[in-house]
Amino acid sequence: MPTNLSARFCTFVLSLFLIAFALPAFAGPFEDAVAKFANDDYSDTEEAIGVVAGSGNKLAFPIISALQDGRLMADSDSKKVYITGADGKSIDAATGEPVASVPDSASAVRLNNRLRRSVDAAIGSLTLQSPDIGTRLQAAQSVFKSHEETALEAVDGALAKETNKSVKAALGDARAAILLFKPDATEVEKLEAVATLKARGDQEALALLTGMGDQPASVTKAAASAISSIQSSLAVWSTVQNAWYGLSLGSVLLLAAIGLAITFGVMGVINMAHGEMVMIGAYTTFVVQEVIRTRYPGLFDYSLLIAVPLAFVVAGAIGVLIERSIIRFLYGRPLETLLATWGLSLVLQQAVRTMFGPTNREVGNPSWMSGAFELGQITITYNRLWILVFTLAVFAILLAMLRYTALGLEMRAVTQNRRMAASMGIATSRVDALTFGLGSGIAGIAGVALSQIDNVSPNLGQSYIIDSFMVVVFGGVGNLWGTLVGAFTLGIANKFLEPVAGAVLGKIAILVLIILFIQKRPRGLFALKGRAVEA
């Protein structure tokens, strides 16, 4: 049982703590409280949690978190309490001195469900004052989730001092959550809480509102209207979210398929090693980052900017080599091209496996590509956003290149009428090699972007090849715009099917739909018509 003195002390420390954090600890009460953990009594433990959490002692957080993880060991005979670290080393919980070993008589301090909530709340409030914004935000969010009454004071205190806008909002939400569940909160407070949660308007707010139990009639009514408003806004947001995921997947598909739209769509060459060109681009990024890491660590943020042209050159050069050494002998024999390039894909995969090992390689995100921002109820990660932007840029550049450059003109001439182009003095074989190189180079660029969101392993390309072909075939061969529309249609359709059918079944459904679609329109969405097609 707590003595009067310690109870008062406890309040005193707590209030001090709330005004100015990290006050020097008072040795006596803190140590007394720590010793209480050894009593093996739930109410003593609860009291101890309160005191320790409010003590401002630097050991407070380690103690509470050890308690949470079952690493807080107490010896009921000596009243000594120890923290066992994850590494097996232990310290005395009261003093922080390392100890050689925890006595065998010590056992982990037990918790029940009620205590567990206190622990969660204590951890939340302990970190509410952290100097780090991220930690504070996290703490506020965890208090919001636990909505323990005991954290209310800590939250109020933190709210008074908080200057960061988003942490402040999170604290406000946490306060509302606590008040909503606090039995003795006033009706006004509760109505305000409902309004705050309604404004928050996410899944978690919805869960709190639906699970709040008995409330005064006015609150129940307000909550009901808040619930329906949140639900309808969530439905809209989930559509937006799916659309965003779809766009994001579509951009990945487009990126993987653009190169193929050139080699397959424009040249009619079935390059089954296309995925491996993507993989080579990803490994180029890896090598660039390795060099930067070891030699010029300061350039890391520019690693992708260096990797993009390099990947284009590497994959493009390999593409030209492949065209000159294999594919040019197989023009007009598409099925043989398919087999030969499949063999090539095996060779390239195995070559990369031999050079870089079979496991995933670490490719880092530069700072400008990591992190995310919130847009209403959805989270948009920077890497996905950049990939979408990058894909559209690549597409636009390619389109412009085909339309306005001499190579683009020659390319179109050769694909439309090879003999005529040759007689006009175009070196068709050079154009073939360059076109194939261009397609491969773009695949390499795609690899740079995909290295940011996918595992860089020798199998990277394999996972894209079927999808890429589906996109090109679906969009209509020989039509870049078709590829664009095809990629985004498939991406969005996939993401809208996923919540209904599940990820795998959604993918199967898409494959089946494409198969059926090809039956209906064998030449894709944007097919060329007329006699020339048959020739």
């Binding site: 060329l528 018509k529 007329g530 006699r531």
Partner: protein, 253 residues
């Protein structure tokens, strides 16, 4: 035959108001044409006049956007596919000789014979005396008896043209569509081909597309001149070749 005959039922082939466009390009434009049973007609016209597209429409390869195509006065060809149209009795020789190159001359003719063309029929097929006699006869007509066991791919260009005509004979259709039968032939071969077609015309209705005016003249049949997908002139070769508009089209404006 009366060209002004408007009763569709009496014509073997009847095209009226046919339109086809590919991505905005009007390949066939309000084309109307009739072919009486037993007639032989030569179709001439500059490149891009729509001659081959017209054959594509008749044989079901291309579907017209609008218009009527009737066979035998009753069958709407626009609703049928190539196989069904071939079964009805319309045979076609392509502009570029298309024979089955990896099979023998004899097998090419065997495949063309108008016997049971179903999966089951061919799977359980056993050659009959009548069939081999017919093949022998066709081989003789197209002068390829000696080459019967050679692969069709090893024939000369002219021989392939003849083999393809032979396949038409074996198919024995009511209507033969012959696209540029003498392209790449020597003068002698051209003359022989004209004789052969005249012979065939004794028992079949024939439509010949040809550029070679000497050949058309030799056929001595009614000529239809197409231009930009529509009929420009119709009549004997002399009438047509003296037509101002035809001259204009051929010589350019």
């Amino acid at each position: 035959m009366n060209v002004m005959d408007t009763r569709a039922t009496s014509a073997l082939l009847y095209l009226d108001g046919v339109h086809v466009s590919f991505d905005g390009f009007h390949a066939i434009n309000n084309l109307s044409l009739t072919l009486a049973p037993g007639e032989m007609r030569a179709i001439i016209g500059p490149n891009g006049a729509g001659k081959t597209t017209m054959m594509d429409i008749i044989t079901g390869k291309t579907k017209p956007d609008e218009g009527t195509v009737l066979f035998d006065g009753v069958t709407d060809l626009t609703r049928l596919d190539e196989t069904r149209i071939a079964e009805l009795g319309i045979g076609r020789k392509f502009q570029k000789p298309t024979v089955f190159e990896s099979q023998t001359v004899q097998d090419n003719l065997l495949l063309a014979l108008n016997v049971d063309h179903s999966v089951r029929g061919t799977l359980f097929w056993r050659g009959s005396k009548a069939e081999s006699e017919r093949i022998d006869k066709v081989l003789e007509t197209i002068r390829l008896t000696d080459a019967r066991n050679r692969l069709a791919g090893s024939l000369s260009h002219g021989q392939k043209q003849w083999l393809e005509i032979g396949m038409l004979l074996a198919q024995d259709p009511k209507l033969l569509l012959v696209d540029e039968p003498v392209a790449g032939m020597t003068d002698v071969e051209t003359h022989l081909t004209a004789e052969l077609l005249k012979e065939i015309n004794k028992t079949h209705t024939v439509m010949v597309v040809e550029h070679d005016m000497t050949f058309v003249r030799e056929l001595g049949v009614k000529v239809t001149c197409l231009h930009e997908g529509t009929v420009l002139a119709e009549g004997t070769i002399d009438q047509v070749s003296s037509n101002d508009r035809v001259v204009e089209v051929y010589l350019g404006r």
